[in-house]
């Protein structure tokens, strides 16, 4: 009755039964769900769909940015002057450190050369504007306005003026997706500044981070600053990541629960700097003696094969 139409119902070309169609589509959906999640091999499909969706999304975001722009325009001279003064003041307070930075870096390089230590890498990158937050409520991601065209690659870290914001996880032709450090799947290798202890900090998904696998008697205090340790191939050492706000020590568990808040304005809108790829690090030594032995065995076998 519902489908009654002015065109007669197609009695003779009915197509597959609804239940068969449902089974087909559900099977396909589940298949791409699993493939996308486990094997990450559907990026090309995602990028090609994004080529259509991305312009529409940008257009849909314009009313909001227009309102923002109008708000800023109407903010008035006075508040701008105040902000300008504050910024000048802030610049002056950091001036003593900054002015000596160049000299310190040169000195550092020279000393490192004297000690035959590898030179400290310099951070450079490019500024990108956060366009909008991804709508997915299960994760914490933002979209920025630079992508493959600007040589952004998946895996690059993103920082703002205060500290680490997140990491680029997907790249599209004209935009990129940054997963924030507060996302539940995001992990950053860090070091406690006060003690030099290394660990990894996990996002919790609720705007906080957790320092896991620290023993219950670990020397860590509320207010401790965590910076990137640089022990991975992604983050350069020394960028502030989080500050410890709460420690629950329970002797029933072997680990303390240490909660931190991000230092960067992770949930704010604005500009981020996407750092360039780190220089290639020297190769890792073989993991263990047994493994090395196994490799040697393989080599011997290969030699034998070659002889034969």
């Amino acid at each position: 009755m519902a489908g009654m139409d002015h065109a007669p119902p197609p009695f003779f070309k009915r197509g597959p039964a609804p239940l068969a169609l449902l089974t087909f589509y559900i099977a396909v959906s589940l298949a791409i769900f699993v493939v996308d999640l486990r094997f990450k091999s559907l990026e090309l499909l995602r990028q090609s769909i994004a080529l259509i969706v991305d312009p529409v999304q940008r257009v849909a975001q314009t009313p909001g940015s227009l309102v923002d722009y109008a708000g800023q325009y109407l903010q008035g001279m006075r508040s701008l002057q105040l902000e300008n003064e504050e910024l000048k003041h802030a610049k002056l307070t950091t001036a003593p450190d900054l002015q000596r930075l160049a000299q310190l870096e040169v000195e550092n390089t020279r000393l490192r050369k004297l000690l035959d230590v590898k030179e400290r890498e310099k951070a450079n990158g490019q500024v990108a504007q956060i366009m909008y937050t991804a709508r997915d409520p299960f994760s914490r991601k933002v979209i920025v306005d630079k992508g493959q065209q600007a040589d952004i690659a998946a895996g690059l870290p993103a920082i703002d003026e205060a500290g680490v914001v997140g990491q680029v996880t997907r790249v599209f032709p004209f935009s990129a997706e940054i997963t924030l450090i507060t996302d539940k799947d995001q992990v950053v290798p860090v070091q406690v500044v006060r003690t030099g202890q290394r660990s990894v900090v996990f996002g919790l998904g609720n705007g906080q981070l957790e320092l896991r696998y620290m023993p219950a008697n670990a020397d860590i205090q509320v207010g401790d600053l965590l910076v990137t340790s640089g022990l991975d191939d992604i983050y350069l050492p020394g960028f502030p990541v989080a500050k410890v706000v709460n420690i629950e020590r329970d002797s029933a568990y072997s680990f303390a629960r240490i909660f931190c808040v991000p230092i960067a304005g992770v949930e704010n809108f604005g500009e981020v700097m996407i750092l360039a790829q780190r220089q290639a690090r020297p190769e890792r030594p073989p993991e263990s003696a047994s493994r090395a032995a196994a490799n040697d065995g393989q080599r011997v076998k290969k030699k034998r094969m070659a002889k034969n």
Binding site: D5, V34, D36
Partner: protein, 173 residues
């Protein structure tokens, strides 16, 4: 198309381009910055449900699947999450359409509510099963708002199908 028992209005046939435009419009509504406000309905699910109930020969699981892919990419969600939920929604809505249309609008909305809530719950279950974080109860308010919007949505989406005002008095129907 069929007049419900409370309204004996006879509608014009639906125009395919209007269905297409309304679905795209719903997607654009989803892309707006307002999508982050708590209790915002999933417009695509609402409009898709509407057309699956009204015109299940034209809008079915194929459309649901394509729209699901679009929403997955636009949201940055896992591919297949919206596809699965929308395909289920389109199937249930079209199989229940003969019954649903027989009720007055308010009762139709009540029957639509479990479908829309189901769409949201299916997505949440899929993501929670693979280790995502619980998004908070605000995520489940959207379908209730969408249920309330069923009545205005019906009015707006059927607007092009109402009979023109200038009528031929000699026409039999």
């Amino acid at each position: 198309m069929q007049p419900t028992f409370s309204s004996s209005r006879i509608l014009l046939p639906v125009r395919p381009w209007f269905i297409f435009l309304s679905l795209i419009g719903a997607a654009v509504l989803n892309f707006l910055p307002t999508a982050h406000w708590p209790g915002m309905p999933d417009w695509v699910a609402l409009v898709l449900c509407f057309w699956s109930v009204r015109e299940f020969r034209r809008v079915g699981m194929g459309w649901a699947f394509v729209l699901g892919l679009l929403m997955d990419v636009a949201d940055g969600a896992v591919l297949g999450q919206h596809c699965f939920a929308y395909v289920l929604l389109a199937y249930t809505a079209s199989s229940l359409s003969r019954r649903i249309l027989w009720f007055p609008l308010a009762q139709q909305a009540l029957q639509i509510m479990p479908l829309l809530i189901g769409t949201q719950i299916v997505q949440a279950l899929m993501r929670l099963a693979v280790g995502a974080d619980f998004p908070g109860w605000g995520y489940f308010i959207g379908p209730f708002v969408a249920t309330l919007l069923w009545i205005p949505a019906t009015f707006v989406l059927l607007l092009p199908q109402y009979r023109p005002v200038e009528q031929d008095p000699n026409r039999p129907i």
